[in-house]
């Protein structure tokens, strides 16, 4: 009995490919959770990182917030919120968002800070206002790093969204949790493989995003 065998059994069972507990449905649920959590975390983390990075103020406070958010155990938070609020989307989203904000926040801040000061200086000297400096100079130059922060958030969400299944939610975690309780290793392995595959696809998406969004002049500098 090895992992390939389990996975093989799981993926060749036709019953696993359709219906409410089918792979397409679960996968889509998982993607939805991920996008939602990533979106919320982005709305919180990116502007905050951008502004603190630009002004250079609040770096310490930011590090504190990030540490605190990291310190919150995702699984514990999920259970706590479920016990308090009952089943719902909020108890699932809060831990995922708390997980995703620190990498985005910290990398964005660091990325903006690390933009060569003489560039900002030149931009200001040419008569760019703070918003222009931020969006026309700092953001494009810092973009590769910022994307890497969002990427690591995304990968963590993909892998952690599995815990939603523990409180009767869907997503790929269903296979893992159900497999655990039904002592069905095929399911566990199948679920894990799917999550890992989704993570690899996520990495791919970010690679493409980097190609498309990052200026070749900056991309080349990173090497």
């Amino acid at each position: 009995m090895n992992l390939f065998h389990y996975a093989n059994v799981f993926f060749s069972d036709n019953a696993n490919w359709s219906g409410a507990d089918g792979i397409p449905t679960r996968l889509w649920e998982h993607v939805q959770y991920t996008l939602m959590a990533l979106g919320i975390a982005g709305v919180i983390g990116l502007p905050l990182g951008l502004v603190t990075g630009h002004t250079g103020r609040g770096g310490n406070a930011l590090a504190l917030v990030a540490t605190a958010a990291r310190a919150l155990p995702s699984f514990g938070l999920l259970v706590l919120l479920t016990v308090l609020m009952g089943l719902g989307l909020t108890p699932v989203m809060v831990p995922l968002v708390a997980l995703a904000v620190p990498p985005m926040l910290v990398t964005t801040y660091e990325a903006i800070r690390s933009v060569d000061r003489s560039l900002v200086d030149a931009a200001r000297g040419m008569g760019m206002g703070p918003l222009r400096v931020m969006f026309q100079v700092e953001l494009p130059v810092a973009l590769p790093l910022i994307l890497s922060g969002i990427r690591s958030s995304a990968v963590q969400i993909v892998s952690t969204a599995t815990i939603a299944a523990y409180v009767s939610f869907g997503g790929l975690g269903r296979y893992i949790v159900d497999g655990l309780y039904q002592v069905d290793y095929n399911k566990v392995v199948g679920g894990a493989v799917l999550v890992a595959a989704l993570a690899v696809v996520t990495l791919g998406v970010f690679w493409v995003a980097g190609r498309v969004l990052v200026s070749p002049g900056v991309r080349r500098q990173q090497r």
Binding site: D121, A122, M126, G127, S215, G217, R220
Partner: protein, 382 residues
């Protein structure tokens, strides 16, 4: 005209970077701020485009206080060039140059056309337009920096040690280019450097600052060299200030001796005719008249073909006495070789002749109060 009027800048930590500085910066010329590190050059420059606000005093541009207009529109009328160029790595060369025109609302095509035109003006090939800054050499990047500052045709250019990060040969090229561009466009340029040679070469006016942001002397370069205000300025100018000052005297009036010049295919009679007691050497030229080297008159007459190298020549009528003296000093025979614009030998001058010319020039200058034969403050051979 930019008037810096009794301006003081104190930083919050108590450093006085600039101390009651008053400077009148004339239009259409290059004014250089020079001085040792930390003497407040950058601070002064950045107060002109309000990147730094003065603690006391005020700065006016054509009579109006620079605080009267919105800060960003002020900056868009002042080109700004810094060390390492500060090019935007995420933008191509044309995009970099087109930055300020775009900020001013020009349409994309117009800005691009302008950028390409400027690339030519600063001596960059148009084929570089689509490249990114990392694909350019340091010297090319610096040219792009200058082009970017010129893009919206600002009347004023502020340059903070723009050429200090490139090697001496490239730097000389950039300096020449700047002088040429300035001649063509007539900008008001404020140029910061800590290199006194650069200041003397490109400046129409030079302001020497000392530590603590005090003005030590403000004068045209020739005057700086001939009459340093005090020991500090004298030290700062260095030991060879007398030699450097010769750059401001033209060698046009130098008496050239045309007798000891012979072509390589001269006959024995021709050689004899050109051999005079005062000059034991003959300057041998090719059939076109270009100098090849010195020959000992007696040995040449005896049939020897041996030549002594002549160092380097100076261009008669264009170069300065400094170039003539240098040519004489470097020549093993002690004679300087003068050539015309086409490189043909037009005469030779002994060290003694040049020394006499220097004395005459100094005397004349004392009499008229300005460098002889030189209309303005620019060195003859920069």
């Amino acid at each position: 005209m930019i008037l810096i009027d009794a301006v003081t800048k104190r930083y919050p930590d108590g450093t006085t970077a600039v101390d009651r500085l008053t400077l009148e910066i004339p239009d259409g010329s290059i004014t250089v701020l020079v001085g040792p590190s930390g003497c407040g050059k950058t601070t002064t420059l950045r107060m002109i485009n309000r990147m730094i606000e003065p603690t006391e005093g005020r700065i006016t541009l054509d009579g109006a206080d620079i605080r009267e207009q919105p800060v960003n529109s002020l900056r868009r009328t002042m080109g700004y060039v810094i060390q390492h160029a500060g090019l935007f790595p995420h933008r191509t060369i044309v995009e970099n140059i087109a930055t300020v025109p775009r900020l001013l609302g020009w349409d994309r095509r117009e800005a691009r056309t302008r950028a390409l035109e400027l690339m030519e003006r600063v001596g960059l090939d148009r084929s570089l337009a689509k490249r990114y800054p990392y694909q350019l050499s340091g010297g090319q990047q610096q040219r792009v920096g200058v082009a970017r500052a010129l893009a919206a045709d600002p009347p004023v250019m502020l340059m903070d040690e723009p050429f200090s990060a490139v090697d001496p040969i490239v730097r000389k090229g950039l300096q020449d280019e700047l002088i040429r561009i300035q001649g063509e466009l007539g900008k008001t340029i404020v140029f910061v450097t800590h290199d006194i040679d650069e200041a003397i070469k490109i400046g129409d006016m030079v302001a020497v600052l000392r530590e603590g942001g005090k003005l030590a002397q403000y004068a045209p370069p020739a005057e700086l060299l001939s009459a340093p205000a005090d020991g500090f300025v004298e030290d700062f100018l260095g030991l060879d200030r007398g030699i450097r000052r010769l750059s401001f005297f033209t060698a046009a009036g130098l008496e050239l001796n045309t007798v000891p010049i012979v072509a390589v295919d001269s006959t024995a009679e021709q050689l004899a005719a050109r051999t005079v007691p005062q000059t034991p050497y003959l300057l041998v030229t090719d059939t076109e008249g270009r100098p090849l080297g010195w020959a000992d008159a007696k040995q040449r007459a005896a049939g020897s073909e041996a030549l002594i190298p002549f160092g380097h020549s100076f261009t008669a009528g264009r170069d300065s006495l400094r170039a003539a003296l240098d040519s004489a000093v470097l020549s093993p025979t002690g004679w300087a070789v003068a050539v015309d614009e086409n490189g043909r030998a037009v005469g030779v001058a002994a060290q003694e002749t040049i020394a006499a010319a220097i004395r005459t020039a100094h005397l004349e200058q004392q009499a008229t109060g300005s460098a002889s034969g030189v209309a303005d403050a620019a060195p003859v051979d920069a």
